[in-house]
């Protein structure tokens, strides 16, 4: 439970911080500080448990059936790292409180800061590889938000994007790597993986897993050749750099390498991949750091170099080197964070970080200068400071490498060289900023910052000194439980002492000191902006080039492989569907089934002869004769309806028939807005050959698909029915649904929830249609009345601008007689629709059919009477109908909740009332009533919305503007 709290506190804090007002700097800082410190305090409290038990585990089941859960595991190493993350987090929060300007949106900063801390703790404490990869990705994303915190600055956005792309790509590789690793080990639990070292290293996939995991770790830790993102990430606020780029984010990579050291290390591949990248980063990073002009730039490259040192130590395949690596992780975090803080203080107080402008700050800010000097000395590896100890261990390890000669001699030389670079840039960092003549052209007059801003830095420097002087008393026990937990029984004996006698590592240290000083004295007074030798190698340029090339390539591939044309997409779709169905048939063969067929009926064959002709005629005429095509399509629909009747599906036939009518009216209303088709054949013009070929191709594909559908249908029809779930519905319809019409019982009772969703969709579609048509603008050529209508009006003696008289009892002119008829029809249709609704449960009918019948009757009024006349006599509010329908259906469902039954459970009441007699009332009827009202509302809304367009354009024409 404690482990969960450790990870949870920062995330909770993050959530709270996000909701605080943007000027609540103090509240934010307190919240963040308390959240970090709470985790830190729990960790400290758990020390004795970790020391005694070795490993603490907590599993929170999430989906136990799938074996998924949140698994946390803390051993000594994880404890040490988590302590570093939370402790450093608390210090940086204090620092950030005074660093951030009141005008910055602080909630966003602290919210992301805490989210980052939580994700980092997630990586460190994960007991499951995939879960760890998830937190790993989370750190990449949150660090993107933190680097781009000042998002109005272009460099911040670019730096953040670069960091995200590099570490995100690495994260993807890592995910692949852990998947392989878990597959090889036979489980994704860290314990399982760590116990499978022999299996993993002997597996043929080991090199692939190693490469992918190394890719993830090296990108995260900004190691050569992926180091270039780190200097560009310096556009982040300094507290972010102090936290992410010294103690946490970049350490995640080396943490992972150390975590998996027992299973992955020990091979030549590991030595070359990890050690090689580490060595390159160590030397190149140190060299580049010397020439930086930005204080944070120096620190960024020195971070690359120091992480290179850690990576190299991990790559050396020796337990003692691992000890040195873990020790240096801690040391580097302390001195580098305090140096970042110093750089931030200088930036904050003087307004610049440029080494060429800064000078002589010692007099103005002596405390800052002293703290920075001590931290920089630790970075350079000066004795009596913590950096010296781990560097000595590193030098010692390079000497005792058991490798071929050229490596045994080359490595100590390279290490000494890197040591020299380290001394040189540390010296330059301090000397240029704090010594020399006082600078007089700084943006602000420098002075000491507030004490609270110095406190975190001072505490870290104190740690550097204490560890440097009394290693055995301070850090030793913690380091020992950390390394013991990685190495287990192989843990070597070692002692952290300042004085190991006069030995080669000491001479190497001395050589580095002297060489570094000489290097700085001799060459670096000059203030060039270019880096000798390595100036032409620029990771950023290569990265940008790669991104551009990728984007261009993707575009080209898209052009080749994709089309924005609907016809092409549909062609491919049907082609693939046909091929996908044809493939298995050709490979395995198929045959018709053995089920006895029903005797053929000539009437049925004749019905479908007509139906087929109708279908083909639609295909033939849809281009030039839309009305004809619509009528033929109605013919095919009628044949379908009759087929439903033929095979005992009266509900379907009724619904199909009414939908057919409504659809036809709908499309008829739309027809007038479509453009006139130029008839090429009428002018004797032949279609082009390519057009004919295309049509032929489509005909062939369509014929093949049709034939395929026909054979599939026949093959299915000649096989016996497997029964499925239908018997259940038939048997239970009466006892549990209380209805005789099984289809209706399924719709409104057994599968009521589906129907509820369906009517909701219908309502949404109706509203969408309504909304789309409110902004409808017809093409100019469609605005005048169709010529048929003009002719009719002229024949009736009406002028073109006439408007129906809303006050008239009946529409005038030639429509009077039909109008009388449909007015008489309306109450009858209402009665019939109610009849269908009420009897639906026991006989063919139901809400859908009833609603459509009523809607049709209403539309008929519109068709015959005209919109203006109908709406002046009959006010229908389709939106109210839709709302009432949805509410009624929902009420029928929630009523069940009140009786503590699941949503939409049907309730029935059967009894007798005076006068009315025996009565059966059921919540199902209420539900079906909802369906009924919704169908009426939705259908009328859609049809009327389209019908209104003619009216609107009429208005537009007569009044000269939109209504």
């Amino acid at each position: 439970m404690a482990l969960i709290l450790i990870v949870l506190f920062p995330f909770l804090g993050s959530l709270c911080a996000a909701f605080l007002p943007s000027n609540a700097r103090n509240a934010e800082a307190w919240l963040a500080g308390i959240a970090s410190f709470a985790s830190c305090a729990i960790l400290l409290g758990l020390y004795s448990d970790v020391a005694a038990e070795g490993v603490l585990r907590t599993t929170l089941p999430w989906a136990p059936a799938l074996g998924l859960g949140i698994s946390l595991r803390m051993d000594g190493f994880a404890w040490l790292f988590a302590l570093m993350v939370t402790g450093m987090g608390t210090l940086v929060v204090v620092y950030a409180r005074y660093y951030m300007s009141p005008s910055d949106p602080v909630p966003r900063f602290f919210s992301f800061f805490l989210a980052f801390e939580g994700s980092m703790l997630g990586i460190v404490l994960s007991g499951h590889l995939i879960q760890m990869a998830m937190f790993w990705e989370l750190t990449s994303i949150v660090s993107f938000m933190l680097i781009a915190y000042w998002h109005n600055r272009g460099e911040a956005r670019r730096g953040a994007r670069m960091a995200l792309i590099v570490t995100g790509a690495g994260g993807l590789a890592l995910f692949g790597g852990v998947l392989l690793l878990g597959h090889i080990a036979g489980g994704y639990d860290l314990d399982t993986v760590l116990a499978a070292a022999w299996v993993i290293q002997g597996h043929p996939w080991y090199p692939a897993a190693l490469a992918l995991i190394a890719l993830g770790a090296l990108t995260k830790s900004a190691q050569f050749p992926f180091h270039f993102w780190l200097p560009h990430a310096m556009a982040a606020p300094t507290p972010v750099s102090a936290y992410l780029h010294s103690a946490t984010m970049v350490k995640a990579g080396v943490f992972l390498l150390a975590r998996l050291w027992p299973v992955l290390a020990g091979t030549d591949a590991w030595f070359w991949v990890v050690g090689g990248a580490g060595l390159c980063s160590l030397v190149i990073g140190g060299y580049l750091a010397i020439f930086q002009q930005d204080m944070k730039g120096v620190l960024a490259y020195s971070t690359i170099s120091h992480l290179g040192l850690i990576t190299l130590l991990l790559g050396m395949n020796s337990p003692l080197a691992l000890v040195a690596a873990v020790f240096h992780m801690v040391n580097h975090a302390t001195f580098k964070a305090s140096l970042f803080m110093a750089a931030g203080i200088v930036d904050h107080e003087t307004g610049t970080r440029n080494l060429q402008r800064l000078s002589g700050l010692y007099r103005a800010m002596p405390i800052t200068a002293t703290l920075a000097m001590v931290a920089a000395a630790a970075m350079a590896g000066v004795p009596l400071l913590n950096g010296f100890l781990s560097k000595e261990m590193f030098f010692a390890e390079t000497i005792f490498l058991s490798r071929p000669d050229w490596q045994r001699i080359g490595l100590p030389l390279a290490a000494t060289l890197a040591g020299m670079f380290s001394v040189a840039y540390s010296l330059r960092f301090i000397h240029q900023v704090f010594f020399g003549p006082p600078a007089d052209d700084l943006p602000h007059t420098p002075h000491e910052p507030t004490r609270w801003m110095l406190l975190p830095s001072a505490l870290l420097v104190m740690a550097c000194v204490l560890v440097g002087i009394f290693p055995e008393l301070t850090v030793s026990p913690f380091l020992r439980i950390a390394t013991d937990s990685i190495l287990g029984s192989d843990a070597p004996a070692y002692s952290l002492a300042i004085w190991h006698g006069l030995n080669l590592p000491l001479f190497m240290s001395l050589a580095a000191m002297v060489g570094g000083t000489v290097l700085y004295r001799a060459f670096l007074w000059r203030t060039g902006t270019t880096v000798p030798l390595l100036d032409r190698i620029d990771g950023k340029r290569a990265f940008d080039w790669l991104l551009t090339a990728l984007a261009r390539g993707a575009e080209r591939v898209m052009q080749r492989l994709s089309s924005s044309r609907l016809q092409m997409q549909l062609l491919v779709l049907f082609g693939i569907a046909l091929g996908g169905a044809l493939g298995p048939v050709l490979m395995q063969g198929t045959s018709w089934g053995a089920r006895a067929t029903t005797p053929a009926d000539p009437a049925f064959a004749l019905l479908w002869l007509v139906g087929a002709v109708c279908a083909l005629a639609v295909a033939w005429q849809a281009k030039f004769h839309r009305l004809a095509a619509l009528i033929f399509s109605g013919g095919a629909g009628l044949a379908t309806s009759l087929t439903f009747v033929w095979f005992s599906a009266p509900d379907l036939a009724l619904t199909q028939l009414t939908v057919e009518v409504v659809t036809a009216v709908l499309i008829l209303l739309g027809l007038r807005w479509l453009p006139r088709r130029k008839m090429n054949y009428a002018t004797g013009q032949e279609p082009a050959t390519t057009t004919r070929l295309r049509r032929l191709r489509d005909v062939l594909l369509a014929a093949a698909c049709g034939l395929g559908m026909a054979s599939l249908t026949y093959a299915m029809l000649t096989r016996p029915d497997l029964g499925g779930i239908s018997p259940f519905f038939i048997e239970q319809s009466l006892p549990r649904g209380g209805g005789l019409n099984v289809v209706n019982v399924i719709l409104v009772d057994f599968r009521g929830f589906d129907t509820f969703g369906e009517i909701t969709v219908l309502a949404i579609v109706a509203l969408t249609v309504f909304a789309l048509l409110r902004r409808f603008r017809p093409a100019p050529e469609s605005v005048p009345l169709p010529h048929q209508q003009r002719e009719q009006d002229a024949a009736a003696g009406l002028d073109a601008e006439h408007v129906a008289d809303p006050a008239a009892k009946l529409p005038g002119g030639y429509m009077m007689l039909p109008a009388v008829l449909v007015r008489l029809l309306l109450p009858l249709a209402m009665l019939i629709s109610l009849f269908f609704l009420l009897r639906g449960h026991d006989a063919p009918g139901g809400g859908f059919v009833g609603g459509l019948v009523l809607a049709t009757a209403v539309i008929l009024q519109y068709l015959v009477g005209g919109t203006v006349w109908v709406e002046s006599h009959l006010r229908i509010h389709p939106l109210y109908w839709i709302a009432a329908g949805l509410l009624s259906a929902a009420a029928a469902g929630t009523g069940a909740l009140l009786a503590h039954a699941p949503f939409l459970t049907s309730r029935a009441w059967h009894g007798a009332l005076p006068l009315i007699g025996e009565l059966h009332l059921s919540s199902v009827l209420l539900f079906d009533l909802g369906v009924y009202m919704l169908v009426v509302g939705a259908t009328i809304l859609m049809l009327v919305a389209i019908a209104h367009q003619s009216l609107r354009s009429h208005h537009r024409k007569t009044s000269g503007g939109p209504p």
């Binding site: 849809a622 044949a639 739309g670 559908m709 019409n741």
Partner: protein
Amino acid sequence: MEIVFALAVGVLAGSGIYLLLRPRTFQVIMGLSLLAYAVNLFIFAMGRLRLGAAPVIDPARGSDPALYADPVPQALVLTAIVIGFATTALFLVVLLASRGLNGTDHVDGREPDKE
């Protein structure tokens, strides 16, 4: 009977697919409704073709599944018919809006470069 039914589905589907591949929106909307008939019939046929089966339960005859038509495909198709209507309406309005906005009834919203 089965062969006629299968051929009917095939002809409806073939005509529908041919129309879906055409360039004009009205052709596509007609194609969609033809294809919808075909698919609805196909789903309906999942219950197999039986003549004279009662669709509504007769309490006097009991509820032996063998006596009645398969209700599940029917319920599915009933839903499909209504949703198909909604789709058609939406598509019709979108095609009208596209025609008003782009001045063409080509499915891509613009006339092809060469016809």
